[in-house]
Amino acid sequence: MVTRTRFSRPRRRLLAGAAAGAALAVAMLGLPGRAEAAPRTDLVVGMPVEPPGLDPTSAAPTVIGQVVWQNVFQGLTRVDRDGKVQPQLARSWTVSPDGLTYTFALQQGAKFHNGEPFTAETAKFSLDAIRAPGSVNPQKALYAVIADVKAPDPQTLVLTLSKPSGNLLFWLGLPAAVMVEPKSRETLKSNPVGTGPFRFVAWRKGDRVELARSPDYWDAARRVHLDKVTFRFIGDPQAAAAALRAGDVDAYPLLPAPELYGAFQKDKAFKAEPGLTEMKVVAGMNNAEKPFSDKRVRQALMMAVDRKLLIEGAYSGYGAPIGSHYTPNDPGYKDLTGVYPYDPAKAKALLAEAGYAKGLTFTFKSPQMAYATRTAEILQAMFSEVGVTMTIVPTEFPAKWVQEVMRDRSFDMTVIAHAEPMDIGIYANDPYYFGYKNPAFNDVVTRAAQATDEAARLKLYGEAQEILAADVPALFLFVLPKLSVWRAKLTGFWKNEPVPSNDLTEVRWTE
């Protein structure tokens, strides 16, 4: 902090340049000959994890979207910072009364970064690619209801569904459904080409991705302010905090170390307002096997957990407790943390009723992420209070964990943060790692997914949340906070994260 105020920007750059290792990094930052008075137009965003590729339509990791979604790639619709659906490459749309036909009017004059125009044909190509038999789209299932895509003229796109899908416009606004262009399709992983305000410049593996403002961006209503954007990948939280303080990084939208966050909140040079992500931390249980096939055991363990205290220990008190697989960001959220509140005495009684008066022993496969290992240790301590012995088995994520928990379903209990927005439907998936089977729940989520009337749909999602809160197929713990830090002179970042993203469209320096 002292360094920042003591030296003017060019001077500081000079000093940093003296350090041999930092020389290159600084050269990347600098735009020569800029008047001091004008606001900066370059930005360096730090991220904890480097994406494995840059094509959100072909791989699942949410970090892909956190670099390219809304910046490089855009969709027919977009989900905005409040989780609401907004038009994007589709100007407007009409839905037939039976909810089976969607007619989109598309933007005119939108162009891909390689010069190709965006037309109904490219939109059809993009949606067909998602639904193609060999498609590796990570959210393929969401778009399976689309039976047919037609492009009657260059500005009109008509979707025909096999059954109504109330959330379709939301799903179309996600990173997995962005519009791509046929000629660049094969190389999107390393050279993303979209219609967004920034075009891809370079990717130095292990270090950074660079974007620059697209010179002929189509959307005159949402002009961007930045000329140059760099995403830097700094995995170590201490190093990330140091980079922020040194001015090497201007913003770090997802600080993985909550214990370092307090210092930024107190520092006036930074803006640090904790928001919420969509990451639901749930301790999934193997509902198909004993002892968790008994609902009472699951309910008892839920009552053995003091969520507030857990959040305090596992995430320094940031984050929000949840009572079901739904976050306060999501439309139709119900606070169900009171269904099975912390009550160790009742938990013990219920365990006894289920035949485990003398105690219960099981294993817990814990991935290595900090939130997971801390949650594991705290749960272990809380369970021991009600006579339950939990053995922690460290299980490396993703390879080992995905194999053992997701594929083989050989586990008792585990913990993971579910990143996808509005994914309550996973409890109806069969097979899925929870092994939860409840026809009543399946019926409710199916009807909810098909309901085209907003109020009716949200009411059904409310019912779905209530069923899960009562059945406890997984221990619903908390929503991970979005611990973002950015320089106080920056504005336009998202506080919450209804979609995992770093939408920089509205970000700018105020001076």
Binding site: P237, Q238, A257, E259, L260, A263, L309, E312, G313, Q368, A370, T373, R374, A376, E377, I378, Q380, A381, S384, T391, I392, V393, P394
Partner: protein, 282 residues
């Protein structure tokens, strides 16, 4: 370290200072470890999350960690966990290594084979191999003991082979042979007792190495699983709290350093006292 300690000691009475300091540190370590079985200031696994990250003397002697556990109690129980793993590992290494060493010294054909195996084992870096073992066996006490112990076998084999070779060249061995004693009996009655000093010295020094390696494995998550406190994991978990709560890193860090220093000094002191070659040298 050994060479340096030797140099520093030149001119002093052989080994008495390191022996004293090392002995006290080691005795303290063992006493703390044993005490932790019957008494610690608080339950080392008990979390008081609302009391987290308290400084030394604010809550307990050494403060509390990020989950509100008593650091002093964790350190004590950690000493026990560290020492038991280290002792078990060194026992594996010392028994198997000494067997290999004396066998090699007694039989030339075995010697060639055993020493090549030892060369191969020496080539494997212990921590990396332990990570590999951890992936195969799953992390835990057994993995740590096997990984550390396994890589001590060649160390003990080398040391005991050299010492045993010297013993075999002595006149009294010749006399024993004349008296009609077999190789096995000579090894048992004459070789082993005469190399026991070197083995004891080596055990002490290897204990220090084992404690260090065990801390390294725990640091990487390959040691005892939670909730058992280990020094290595305490150190690993303290990383992001360096600025807020430096005592979390200092406590286990100093404990590891003191334990390793104590055992090394003790080993050096014992070497100077017990090893006839060194006694002559100094």
């Amino acid at each position: 370290m050994t060479a340096l300690a030797l140099k520093m000691r030149r001119g002093w009475r052989p080994g008495s200072v390191p022996l004293l300091v090392g002995g006290i540190l080691t005795a303290l370590l063992i006493a703390i470890a044993l005490t932790s079985l019957v008494w610690t200031p608080a339950d080392p696994t008990r979390m008081r999350i609302l009391q987290k990250l308290k400084g030394p003397l604010v809550s307990g002697l050494l403060g509390t960690d990020q989950l509100g556990r008593d650091v002093a109690s964790m350190l004590m129980r950690g000493a026990f966990n560290s020492l038991t793993t280290a002792f078990a590992a060194v026992a594996v290494g010392a028994v198997l290594g000494t067997l290999a060493g004396v066998a090699a010294a007694a039989n030339h054909k075995l010697d060639a084979v055993l020493m090549r195996i030892c060369d191969a084992l020496f080539a494997l870096p212990p921590i990396l191999s332990a990570i590999m073992l951890g992936a195969l066996l799953g992390p835990g006490a057994l993995t740590a003991i096997v990984a550390i112990g396994f890589f001590m076998i060649p160390v003990f084999a080398r040391v005991t082979r050299g010492a045993a070779m010297q013993v075999w060249a002595r006149e009294y061995i010749m006399a024993a042979r004349m008296a009609g004693k077999g190789t096995a009996r000579i090894t048992l009655e004459h070789v082993l007792p005469n190399i026991s000093a070197q083995v004891i010295v080596q055990v002490t020094i290897q204990l220090a190495m084992a404690i260090l390696t065990e801390a390294g494995l725990s640091f990487l998550g390959l040691g005892l699983p939670p909730p058992a406190p280990t020094w290595g994991r305490m150190l690993a978990e303290s990383q992001t709290y360096l600025i807020q709560a430096p005592h979390l890193a200092l406590a286990p860090g100093l404990a590891i350093a003191a334990a390793v220093l104590g055992l090394n000094l003790l080993g050096d002191g014992l070497a100077a006292r017990l090893d006839p070659r060194r006694r002559q040298a100094s």
